[in-house]
Amino acid sequence: MLTAPFEFRRASTVNEASDLLQQGTEVKLLAGGHSLLPLMKLRLAAPEMVVDISGIPELHGVSVHDGVVTVGAMTRHVEVAQNPVIQAEAPLLSKTAAVIGDVQVRNRGTIGGSLCHADSAADLPAAVLALDAQMVVSGPDGIRKIPASEFFVAPFVTALGAREVLMAVEVPAMPSDAASTYLKRPHPASGYPVIGVACWVGNGGTSVKMAITGIGSTAFRAVEAEAYLTEQGVNASSIGEAARLAAVHAPVEDDVTGYKRQLVNVYVSRALHQTMAGKD
């Protein structure tokens, strides 16, 4: 479990990181290292250069302005889980970060690293999708924003350009009456979600958002279920049908036994029940 040789650099600004990304064919940014380093140790990744971005001040910090929570890309999972601003304005994000891996993983791993790595079984993509978050990205052509719904392209592939750095995640604050749940079924070996359902209900039941990770090639929004629930209202009788709709439309592959769709059905239903129970 030893990496191939590589050059190690430390960037102190986003621009510097961006510049370094253009220096070779294989340059990798290093955030928490909890996804990149295992790959390098298995020699599945062998970048020529590794650029540590943990010391870039612009990537740190959590703030809220005009109903938008900005979470710096270098924010560790543990901070996302425990930060009072995030807990107050976007509790779904905190709840999701709180159940990633274990204590060590949460102490090292970052929100930016997790989203950019885009493992199809990662937890956070479900939350940022359900929250309609935007990725704030800096590259050679300046800063742009990518909606979460366009960010996850395929397993381990994002809409991030080769020279781009994720700076922060902007999350619209949840309505004050919102109730939310992240329900995860950890894999018995890896602890990653076999399925993770992130959902919230707010604005007097007129906003229902739900995204599912782990079960498809990327995380996805359960749009049919959302539409049905928005129309019918979320209640004991509508939840069953919404769960069925989510299962039927889930983009799952290799589901020979039908078990994956069954899990979608059960976990969507449970997540919604839990959300409604949380409301009272």
Partner: protein, 782 residues
Amino acid sequence: MPQVMGQALKRHEDIRLIRGRGQYTDDMTLPGMVYAKMVRSPYAHAKILSVDTQAAQAMPGVLAVFTGQDTKDELGLIPTAWIPPNSDLKMTPHPALAFDTVRYVGDAVAVVIAETPYQAQDAADQVQVQYQPLEAVVHPREAVEDGRPQVHEEIDHNIAFHWTVGPDLDAVFQQAEVVVRHEFRQQRLIPNAMEPRAALAQYNNATDELTVWVTTQNPHIHRFLLSGILGIPEHKLRVVAIDVGGGFGSKIACYPDEVVASWAARKLHRPVKWTETRQENFLITSHGRDHVQEVELAGTRDGQIQAIRVKAYSNLGAYLSTAGPGVPTILFGLIINGAYNIPHASADVYGVVTNTTPVDAYRGAGRPEATYLIERMVDLYAREIQMDPVAVREKNLVQAEAFPYTNPFGLQYDSGNYQGTLKIALDMLDYPKLREEQAALRKDGKYIGIGWSTYVEMCGLGPSEVAGAVGFQGGLWESATVRVHPTGKVTVFTGASPHGQGEETTFAQIVGQELGIPVDDIEIVHGDTARISMGWGTYGSRTTAVGGGAIHLATQKVIEKAKKIAAHKLEVSESDVVFEDGMFSVSGVPDRQVSFQAVTLDAYLAWSLPEGVEPALEGTAFYDPKNFTYPFGAHVAVVSVDPDTGDIHLMRYIAVDDIGNIINPMIVEGQIHGGLVQGIGQALYEGAEYDAEGQLLTGSLLDYAMPKARFFPRFETAHTVTPSPHNPLGVKGVGETGAIASTPAIVNAVMDALHPFGIRDLPMPLTPEKVWQAIQQNQGGR
């Protein structure tokens, strides 16, 4: 002097281990040390066409690259050390580095030696091996079919041995009222000791001595085998196991890696270190279990079991590992009647080679495979005759008056009250009430299940005479030296080789109690062939029963001699001296006394010793037990099954064990918990899977589910104590009981829960998907 035997003393070894001060093989650094990295086959079965080492040789820091061609004439083959008699066992020639054929993924073909581990790895990646892939076999029963590829040319139909025991039982089965037949798959398990394996070899040019630090459970067996393979005589070979981070059987075997590191150290005159990665650990360190078992049980309509027989195909992997052939034969076949008085039994075992990682002992080794078979069959039989599984057990368990009980294969079960442990478990559970609850819950669509396992196992291996009779190529006695230093402090040298089981504490308790001195005055030394004359190591739950027995006898020799000196000092005859709590006193005159420490000093000063008594004070004993020991007990699991997801929730687990006398209850508790977790791991989570090409699909901790603490409820444990008459301490062994008993208890519980769906059996591990699917198929989804 307080009582120390039977006390839950904290573990002496933990002071260093939990503070990160332990010294494992990989922690060792020697001046001039270089690093070995193996080049391993990515194919399960292939011809080696060529190995090009040129590019690797030229890499920075590389001292040498050796291939199988370089080593084949200089190294002996790696042998198996267990040859079951009358089984027509064929050896599987196992070169340390393969030179013409590779037989499993991970088989080593070359080694790179470099100045740093990184350089070694970089260069290993540049060794170009051309393979001609061959068809592979992975499944033990398929491997014996006609027309399958042969793993070894010499081994027809891949049958390395065929071992049978017991008479022809056809007549019994033909006349039986009830015959239950079933096929079980004992899936393959990957031991995953916390510390991967490692070896560090140093050759001393001046003395021609080779020292090998290696992760082993049995340094003297390692020395014995390495000596033969390397051609270095035993008096020039030292094997050291400092701290070893768990083994579970996987550190019994002698592996190619330590052989190659040793050979290279001698060749290059540099200390060579080899350290396994976790990824390699999955691929090359021995696996466990892997049987297909065709089982038949004959009985009466009213619950009397008359016969049990099995035909088993045991997967041994690509090469016969050190103890590999003994596990599915002696340690399995001879005890398939379990804790029951079954008059007729027979076993028929095919030892099969396949293109998979070699299989050797894994916690329980053979006995879990036997216990699962009989405990599951008892439940299937109970279902068949519509009797409660507890009633069937009560009817068939060996009766307390029957001990010593001779089983159908001639094993003599030592002592016990099997019904006694079952009774306690029944009370702890409140069985009748739980059955009522179960019935009520079923009406609400909730499914709970209760599963029993009333087991016995054989351990404390074992008398050497039996070892010889069953083909184990070694002895099974143990050695101990108790050396009392002039100040009365004690060093104990044991031939057992604990690697996490806590005997540095347990053994000190034995000696402290017997000598009446503080346990802190006692150091236990193990795992070094230069400091310990001989020993057979730690496996088969033998360490306390046999190693402890030796220590007891050696301590008695010390006391015997000290008594002579004390009598001389007290000017009385030896028979008038009593020894108690560390004091020698004159019988009837308790204030005429002298301490153990004072006597020790006298022994060393030797100014005035009794006639014929030599100076110094130490005792050495070589103890060969009279028989195995037979721990037993009753375990019961309560589970609930969620039909929506197939999830199994373990609600309660009760373990009532009788392991004979208990020296340290906390350590015993720890051993039971660990064993349970591993046994339950087999039932619910673990399972190695290969594809048809022999690629290990569960090759990392991302895919292979090791049990985690959060999966378990608090275990409820209790004990009865029936001392074993087979050793002086009356202990039976506890290292493996949990792993042996728990697997069938869990599966019996799940099948009990699934009974309303008409499900009789499912192959382990009982993953939620498998359970859910079975429910779907049997009910069309309620």
